[in-house]
């Protein structure tokens, strides 16, 4: 299923999407592939596969630690793509990576390698729209959506432009800060999401800091999808039942 079809289906069912972020190669490559399957079985509507990086400046302690351990276990963008190529999932797979591993893979290989691995989208937290022009054409030639991020500090002009350029959906960062579960969502979040909705026609997925069914319920009206990441990475670390956890989170995306 494509990203667009996923959001259309969600809209027709009047429910918000649940995007699950999992670190590729954590704790091992095989385990990360099993965990993706478990999240899909639990009802994830979209999977974000994180690529470990030595210098994850947008990530908090949970994902930093998983990234580090994945690297120690031998993970790389290339190996994770190979792992994905051997699988088929019923939901869109989106790669979330810092720019340098992409540069190392080589611009000429990205389209083909991603397509072969069944990847439909790409999120690059350190590639703002001003720097993305040289990537958009070669990705769209391969049918891969380059998803732009929006932040509470983005001006209206930037939000409008981000909305125009982003493909598939807009990833709204819920707060000024790094990834990682927070007890409370930012109080300015509803106003930010409202502003984002007014300025872009694309679906909006909100992420960073979201970990509980209550938080998801409070966001259901304001966004088309929510992203949960660090909470799931933590669950994997603690050997929790990932499929069960995703089921609970997914239930919160449906209206009562």
């Amino acid at each position: 299923m494509t990203i667009r079809e996923t959001f259309e289906r969600l809209r027709s069912r009047d429910e918000a999407g649940l995007a699950c972020y999992l670190m590729g190669g954590y704790p091992t490559l095989d385990a990360s592939m099993r965990n993706i399957r478990a999240a899909v079985e639990g009802g994830a509507d979209l999977i974000e596969v994180g690529i470990p990086f030595s210098d994850p400046i947008a990530d908090g302690p949970t994902i930093q630690a998983a990234s580090h351990e994945a690297l120690v276990a031998g993970a790389s963008l290339r190996r994770i793509l190979e792992g994905l190529a051997a699988q088929r999932f019923d939901v869109p797979i989106v790669i979330m990576t810092y720019l340098n591993p992409l540069l190392a893979l080589g611009r000429d290989r990205i389209g083909a390698d991603f397509a072969l691995s069944g990847v439909s989208g790409l999120i690059v937290p350190d590639l703002p729209m001003e720097e993305s022009d040289e990537w958009t054409p070669l990705l769209s030639d391969a049918g891969i959506s380059l998803i732009q991020l929006a932040a509470p500090t983005s001006t209206d002009d930037r939000l409008r432009e981000i909305g125009k350029r982003s493909e598939g959906f807009v990833y709204a960062v819920s707060l000024t800060g790094t990834t990682g579960a927070r007890r409370e969502l930012s109080s300015e979040l509803p106003a930010f999401l409202k502003r984002a909705k007014q300025l872009t026609a694309k679906p909006i997925a909100v992420g960073f800091g979201i970990s509980t069914p209550e938080q998801i319920r409070s966001l259901r009206e304001h966004a088309d999808a929510v992203v949960v990441g660090s909470r799931l990475v933590d669950a994997i670390r603690q050997n929790e039942d990932l499929c069960g956890l995703v089921k609970t989170l997914k239930a919160a995306t449906r209206s009562a």
Binding site: F53, S54, D55, P56, I57, A58, G60, Q64, H68, L71, S76, L77, R78, Y98, L99, N100, P101, L102, L103, A104, L105, P125, D126, L127, P128, E130, E131, Q148, L149, A150, A151, P152, T153, S154, T155, R158, I162, V173, T176, G177, T178
Partner: protein, 393 residues
């Protein structure tokens, strides 16, 4: 034609740009426009130059190192004495400029990263001067090996936050400072200490450091009636080097940047980015980066904490590829021997960082004629390094 200004998008040739999370993009726009404003503001320039004179002690002297010249037996060596600037290194030039800029922008809090601790000390000093709260990120390995500077920052009222991730050195301190900035961007200015980071930082830091080259040019011309033949400086991120090179870019002066070769550039333990790196993106800019085949940034080693960094300023990458500046490297062992030589022949204890540049001078000076003139940017004094040096020389 050599570009001396970045283009609209912050590129020097193919290098630079802004590769940061969207959260920071508006802040960088604001910083750029605030900087453009003060860059042509006479009142700001007056305030800065008065403080440079009365507080920092500028102009720093240029000194003819007669005994070393005689010992090396070739070109005449002059030292640009940035080690005599307040706080003991060139870092104060940039820290003071940026802290004044932040104050003017109405920021309430300053953060900085530091490697050897000199930039942290300089930023803490500038914050004490203008009355701003200051927190400094420093790798725990660097806290250990540059303990004196941790004590100095504390005394100056700054809080030092040890960073435990990665190799626990400068690169990791920058990561943590960026994470702080992403979180507190509305109230906080991040004083980057070198000519690295997203645009406009490489431009701002270079401009505030280029006072070194302007003074050098004037001073050496007054003393010898012409420009020098060679200017040599060490390069980690590259701020002191850009600072002294900039005034000479369009002259027939040979410019040499000296990187840290650690145990040797043919070993995995070095920090010579331009010698062993590939083009990549680290800390918000496109430049040469020491990295593995998968694009993971590699851990570096140098006896000098200030050069122990896997990246390099984008303008240096540009000047290297344009062929304008020659970049070489010097090992730990060579730098330590050079440090000892300068102590014994001139009564000056240089920091480990410029000891790298001086080690290269020791190689080239004997090969140049006695009519040739070399200027070495002596960018900092070595008091901070005594504990490291003690067991090694």
């Amino acid at each position: 034609m050599l570009a001396t200004e970045p283009d609209k998008r912050g590129y020097f040739g193919a290098f630079g740009g802004r590769f940061v999370p969207e959260t920071l993009m508006h802040a960088l726009d604001e910083l750029e426009s605030a900087y453009r404003e003060i860059r042509s503001d006479a009142a700001f320039a007056k305030r800065l130059s008065e403080l440079q004179r009365d507080y920092v002690g500028r102009p720093t002297p240029i000194y003819q190192a007669a005994r070393l010249t005689e010992r090396l037996g070739g070109a005449t060596l002059w030292l640009k004495r940035e080690d005599l600037a307040h706080t003991g290194a060139h870092k104060i030039n940039n820290a003071l400029g940026q802290v004044l800029l932040a104050k003017q922008m109405g920021k309430q809090r300053i953060i900085a990263e530091t490697g050897a601790g000199q930039h942290g000390v300089a930023t803490a000093t500038a914050c004490a001067l203008v009355g701003l709260k200051c927190q400094v990120y420093m790798g725990s390995e660097d806290c250990r090996r540059q303990r004196m500077n941790v004590l100095r920052m504390g005394l100056l009222g700054a809080e030092v936050i040890p960073v435990e991730s990665g190799s626990k050195t400068l690169k990791d301190a920058i990561n943590e400072a960026i994470r702080d900035w992403v979180t507190n961007v509305r109230t906080t200015h991040y004083v980057i200490g070198s000519v690295v980071g997203p645009h406009p930082y490489p431009l701002i830091v270079r401009d505030f450091q280029s006072v070194i080259g302007r003074e050098t040019r004037e001073q050496i011309t007054a003393r010898i009636g012409r420009l020098p033949d060679v200017v040599v400086a060490c390069v980690g991120g590259g701020s002191n080097a850009i600072g002294i090179f900039h005034a000479f870019l369009n002259d027939a002066v040979k410019l040499i940047g000296v990187e840290a070769a650690g145990d040797g550039v043919d070993t995995p333990r070095h920090a010579a980015t331009l010698a062993g790196g590939r083009v990549g993106v680290l800390h918000g800019a496109k430049s040469y980066v020491l990295q593995d085949a998968d694009g993971q940034v590699t851990e570096t080693h140098s006896v000098s904490a200030g050069l122990d960094y896997p990246g390099v300023g984008p303008e240096h990458s540009y000047l290297r590829d344009a062929g304008r500046v020659e970049y070489v490297s010097v090992t730990d062992r060579e730098a330590l021997a050079a440090l000892k030589l300068m102590c014994e022949y001139e009564g000056i204890i240089p920091a480990l960082e410029p000891s790298h540049a001086f080690a290269h001078v020791c190689k080239i000076a004997p090969q140049l004629g006695r009519d040739k003139v070399i200027v070495l940017n002596l960018c900092g004094r070595g008091d901070k390094d005594l504990e490291i040096v003690q067991g090694l020389v």
